[in-house]
Amino acid sequence: MTDPMIAIHALEKSYGIYKALHAVSLDVAPGEFFSLLGPSGCGKTTLLRSIAGFETPSAGDIRIDGESVIGKAPNQRPTNMVFQNYAIFPHLSVAENVAYGLKRLKLSPSEEKRRVSEALDQVRLGSYGERRAQQLSGGQRQRVALARALVLRPKVLLLDEPLSALDKKLREEMQVELRALQRAVGITFVLVTHDQYEALALSDRIAVMFAGRVAQIATPKEIYQHPQSREVAAFLGGMNFLSGRILNETATSLSVEAGRFGTVAATKPAGFTRTGETTALGIRPERLRILWEPQDTPHQITGTVVDRDYFGETTHLRIRAEGLDEPLSVIETNSFGADDLPRGATVQLAYDPEAFVALAD
């Protein structure tokens, strides 16, 4: 692996007696799109602001491109930030906002103008240079904030929930644009978000945080499919939790006797340590399928529909199966009539016995 662009080691941050960050360590590779994901109040912003230089860590080290930045002010760090409320200067035009940080470089007026219009073109605001901040929509403000930071060509761009203030449709459009922009400029992005879909869609890697600690760092697919703990699994979409008795253990998987589901193979997440004879198991709702035609497979269970929520393209069902305490969550596409299933209907659910994951508690 190449040297990391950001290397955070055993970072701690306390506010009085309250500890907002506990021994956070992580590396971000050059050119990577890295996300900090977690519920509100878990310390994402604190971590991001520590990288930017707005918070002074209580202990630990942050290196950017090999150099420790501890003790350096934000204006001495090779980072730039897109603030959650965008922080567009209201007394300046769009072009003046973008040129704000360039003034220090003492470029020739024509060179400065060229770089400003290049940055504005990059965020598709080419013709908005003369506008005032008050005349811009939320999405446009966000683009100005991006252009203002990117025009300085920082080594790292830090983004604090940049999309959370936008409405859903605009947010989805901006996700696509943000990803494309990051590929085009090749700058390392660190994004803070509490939206798991945003993190999954945008990131090369995700760090999931809870209560000031990093719970797991992995690629979106790895984190979704092989969450290391119950908490991570639950935060990233729905999960059916079961428990089972361990029959056999190999380096990568467990063979588990899981009650009504019979003997299943569960992937062993990295760092899994067996604590006893039993283990928690999870299976994602979309990994359970309703059998519309009777099928002769041993991997099926019988259940009754207790509740359903209609989402247009999919229906989320709660199905009570014999021998299980909790109803199972099942997500079905609406191609086969899941949206027409009445409450109380009896269905057969098929599952892949390899689709289970073992979870540390």
Partner: protein, 309 residues
């Protein structure tokens, strides 16, 4: 209409039926608005506009012993603008008021800045403490400056005790400087408040953004904080400058003959000299001169702030 989606006639929706009905403003929104503000409007007209109009009218008339000659004349203005004594007093009033208001803003800004940025949970306490001097009588405050600045005053005896001077400084009181000091003390608290409010309204993330984009502390102040709190500074300047031009009590009590200001002359015309039209013309002239000067300072101030950014 570009904003309307095709195939829909926005003006036919029932919500738009209440829009201006025929019959003009009397039935529209404007009428209910006027009705709502009319008590205050009448009150303001009666107490503010009417007195000024009366003074304005007087300034074009002539005093004829005990009666008023109502023929239109500009003689009062001629006197107000050519008599050296009046020009002198007006000039001194403007200079004193300008000094007081500029000094007040310069001293109030750091105070307001400190309270807003470092006041923490005790901001209100700090503000309260700043207004404490205003709780004592205006007269008492001016008289105490006499005690501080007087020949045998606190300042002189203090300096003598310290051995810094051998005999009391005589030029501390009964001149323009004493007037400026006393006025500054009276009005400083009023300058702190508007600046404080505009600093409070300033979004702190803008300052952080400037820091992030490379600014030093001084640059952040000049490029972000000062331009964005300029409305508060302007207001603070005006709120001190306008009333101090016409201040009467302070120069009277501690200004001596050297510190007399225009209000004394105006008072004399309405009192002993009994020439109300000349007094009115002096008042109007002072008002216009003060407004022009204030406007000029505000414009120059804005230019200056823009140049510094």
């Amino acid at each position: 209409m570009a904003a309307a989606s095709p195939g829909r006639e926005p003006d036919q929706s029932p919500l738009h039926r209440t829009a201006p009905a025929p019959g003009g403003w009397r039935t529209g929104e404007a009428a209910s608005g006027l009705a709502l503000i009319s008590p205050t409007l009448l009150y303001a007209a009666f107490l503010l506009l009417l007195p000024i109009l009366i003074v304005f009218a007087y300034s074009f008339w002539t005093q004829d012993f005990l009666t008023i000659d109502h023929t239109f004349t500009l003689a009062n203005y001629r006197a107000a603008l050519t008599e050296p004594i009046y020009l002198d007093l007006l000039g001194r009033s403007l200079i004193n008021a300008l000094s007081v208001s500029v000094l007040a803003v310069l001293m109030a800004y750091p105070l307001a800045y400190f309270i807003s940025f470092y006041g923490g949970a005790s901001k209100n306490l700090w503000l309260f403490l700043i207004t404490v001097p205003c709780w004592t009588s205006y007269l008492l405050r001016i008289m105490s400056w006499k005690i501080v600045l007087g020949y045998n005053g606190v300042l002189n005896s203090g300096l003598m005790r310290l051995g810094l001077i051998d005999k009391p400084i005589e030029t501390l009181v009964y001149n323009s400087n004493a007037v400026i000091i006393a006025l500054l003390h009276s009005w400083l608290a009023f300058a702190v408040l508007p600046i404080f409010v505009s600093l409070e309204k300033l979004d702190r993330s803008l300052i952080e953004a400037a820091h992030d984009l490379g600014d030093t502390a001084v640059q952040r102040f000049l490029r972000i904080i000062l331009p964005l709190t300029l409305p508060g500074v302007t207001y603070a300047f005006l709120i001190v400058m306008i009333p101090t031009v016409g201040d009467y009590i302070t120069p009277k009590l501690i200004g001596g003959s050297d510190g007399v200001m225009i209000a004394t002359a105006i008072q004399a015309q309405f009192g002993k000299a009994a020439n109300w039209p000349l007094g009115a013309a002096l008042s109007i002239t002072t008002m216009i001169a003060a407004s022009l000067l204030a406007g000029l300072v505000v414009l120059v101030g804005r230019r200056l702030v823009r140049a510094l950014a």
